[in-house]
């Protein structure tokens, strides 16, 4: 069995390396920890969801409550993710292609949402748009609802996924430099064709990667959405909130059935993410081989 475990670096026969039994023990310990802390919680979701059989599972999912929640979740993600993609492209274009005063500050400001607790993020929007917030009186005069309504959920989702695309694109585009775009401009390409025909094909993998991470987080966001949603049945309940409400009503099978759909989305995210990593690693190593 220990023969299956190799060092990842090229020279297998380096002197003085830990004995194979020690290596085996380390690998087994790490795999054991991953199973205990990560695989079991994931597996448990599906086991609980199917504990009473397929039919109960299907019946639990096929309720108006869950279908409405699913629709709302997808609708919110369909608004929040594209907005953050546009922002990510604009921010990385400005930051990677131009030098300007305050660039470093801008880059660190973009990261702020990563440091903020989701609940605090939700609270921020309550202080702007809530009845007691800055814009609250004006909004209620015009009969507009943001907090305890869908716009608030969209805003909270935008906030928590705000940096995801920008963070993938900025370092990538900075490393690539702007020679290709400059060449296109010199050759007479207009702004639109520079973007669509030079930049976009170059950044498609990191763009997709950031988009997937943002989509996964928007579908699963709980804390920030929980603060601004108000938990109004059929109106402002997203899938993660439905999981919470069903669980708190001791309807465990339905809670885990809804959770299993979210877990499936998470597993698909992990697979696509890994596939992009492997394919870009492959492209990079191919490029390196060709340049040698």
């Amino acid at each position: 069995m220990s023969a299956l475990i190799r060092l990842r670096s090229k020279e297998e026969s380096k002197p003085g390396l830990p004995a194979t039994t020690a290596r085996l023990a380390l690998v087994l310990a790490a795999v054991g920890l991953v199973i205990l802390f990560l695989v079991l919680p994931l597996a448990s979701v599906f086991v609980q969801a199917f504990a009473k059989g397929w039919q109960v599972y299907v019946a639990a999912i096929h309720t108006a409550e869950i279908i409405e929640a699913l629709k709302l979740t997808l609708r919110v993600a369909a608004i929040a993710v594209p907005l953050n993609v546009v922002f990510g492209i604009a921010a990385s274009w400005a930051i990677a292609h131009f030098d300007f005063i305050g660039k470093k500050l801008l880059v660190s400001l973009i990261d702020i949402p990563l440091a903020v607790s989701p609940v605090v993020a939700g609270m921020m929007y309550v202080e702007v748009f809530g009845l007691h917030g800055w814009l609250g009186p004006w909004l209620s005069d015009h009969n507009l609802h943001v907090i305890f309504a869908i716009p608030g959920i969209v805003l909270a989702t935008i906030f928590v996924t705000f940096p995801f695309v920008a963070r993938e694109l900025i370092p990538f585009m900075q490393a690539q430099g702007s020679e290709e775009e400059q060449a296109a401009v010199v050759l007479g390409a207009g702004p639109a064709s520079v973007f669509w025909r030079v930049t976009l094909p170059n950044i498609k993998w990191p763009l997709l990667y950031g988009t997937i991470l943002a989509a996964a987080r928007s579908i699963g966001e709980f804390g920030a959405v929980s603060v601004v949603s108000g938990h109004i049945r059929g109106l402002t309940v997203t899938m993660p909130l439905a999981v919470e409400m069903l669980y708190n009503e001791f309807n465990f099978t339905a809670a885990f059935a809804a959770a299993s759909l979210l877990s499936l989305a998470a597993v698909i995210t992990l697979i696509v993410k890994k596939a992009i990593e492997l394919s870009t690693e492959y492209h990079r190593s191919k490029a390196e081989r060709e340049s040698n």
């Binding site: 190799r6 920890l33 991953v34 205990l36 274009w93 131009f98 949402p113 702004p191 959770a259 979210l262």
Partner: protein
């Protein structure tokens, strides 16, 4: 002439470039950043101080709030240290060894990022409850997890594990084998190579990962509230208290706690940037 051009350039906002779209892309970026992040951030800080600093201090110092902060910070510290220890082992194994299923294990590390926190919360609670898969084995040993602070620590360490692994793993992967070989040729044994050469080189990344893990754990909500039991003064975390105060229409109280949480995470991030800046400048001197 060139000096003049240099001087002129330093006074303009941006360096000249043949590429189009500077005004549009930067303008949109600033507008969106201001609307989504900066205005709400200023709003909550200003609103929390509406009643003056004395009222703010009063809201934070209330026994129930102080207890929530103690539970939160204590649990986040324990959770990040726990995640640091097993995260380091996992990162080490993933970076150094090839074994069947390595890619699957590697992909699974990001599960806590991808899995919605509410799902993680109900799943961990079920697993560690007295009749759950794991809890039923711990209960006879007198180990209680669910509805105790141990449960909070467990949930927090679950969500913060990827921060440690993803900070440490690339650094171990890029360690120069020559350092190790030099140590071996100088007569160091395995333990000495690890403890005196490899571990110190990976330490800054481990500190970074642990600090990120701490910040995430201190702000965590979804995965914790199900397993915590939420008993005021004992197992109630700060994030939950924000929600509770909001449900009681105590906006000032909720905002004060939220701003204190904001301050904690900004302090952690600032310290982290300072550390990285220091390490970078030290590296710069050496090379």
């Amino acid at each position: 002439m060139t000096e003049l051009a240099q001087k002129q350039r330093s006074w303009t906002l941006k360096q000249p470039s043949p590429l189009p779209g500077f005004g549009l892309s930067l303008g949109y970026t600033l507008l969106y950043l201001t609307a989504i992040v900066l205005i709400p951030l200023v709003a909550i800080v200003v609103r929390s101080l509406d009643g003056g600093t004395a009222a703010f201090a009063h809201a934070i110092e209330a026994p129930r709030v102080a207890a929530a902060f103690r539970v939160t910070l204590e649990s986040a510290l324990l959770a990040s240290l726990l995640a640091a220890s097993y995260g380091f082992l996992i990162a080490w194994v993933l970076a150094r060894y090839d074994f069947p299923g390595r890619r699957i294990v590697d992909a699974l590390i990001d599960l806590p990022f991808a899995l919605p926190t509410a799902v993680a919360g109900i799943s961990l609670t079920t697993l560690y409850s007295p009749n759950g898969w794991i809890g039923s084995h711990l209960e006879p040993l007198g180990i209680h997890i669910v509805f105790r602070q141990a449960g909070i620590v467990l949930a927090m360490s679950f969500v913060s594990l990827p921060f440690v692994v993803r900070s440490v793993q690339p650094v171990i992967e890029e360690l120069d084998p020559a350092m190790e070989e030099a140590a071996i040729s100088l007569g160091a044994n395995d333990w000495q190579v690890f403890s005196r050469v490899l571990a110190p080189a990976a330490l800054p990344a481990l500190v970074t990962g642990t600090a990120l893990a701490f910040a995430r754990a201190a702000g965590e909500y979804g995965s914790v509230i199900f397993i915590a039991g939420n008993m005021p003064m004992k197992t109630e975390i700060a994030a939950l208290l924000v929600v509770t105060k909001l449900e009681e229409f105590d906006y000032a109280g909720a905002s004060a706690i939220a701003v204190a949480m904001l301050a904690i995470s900004f302090i952690v991030m600032f310290a982290l940037n300072l550390l990285q800046w220091k390490l970078q400048s030290r590296k710069g001197v050496r090379t």
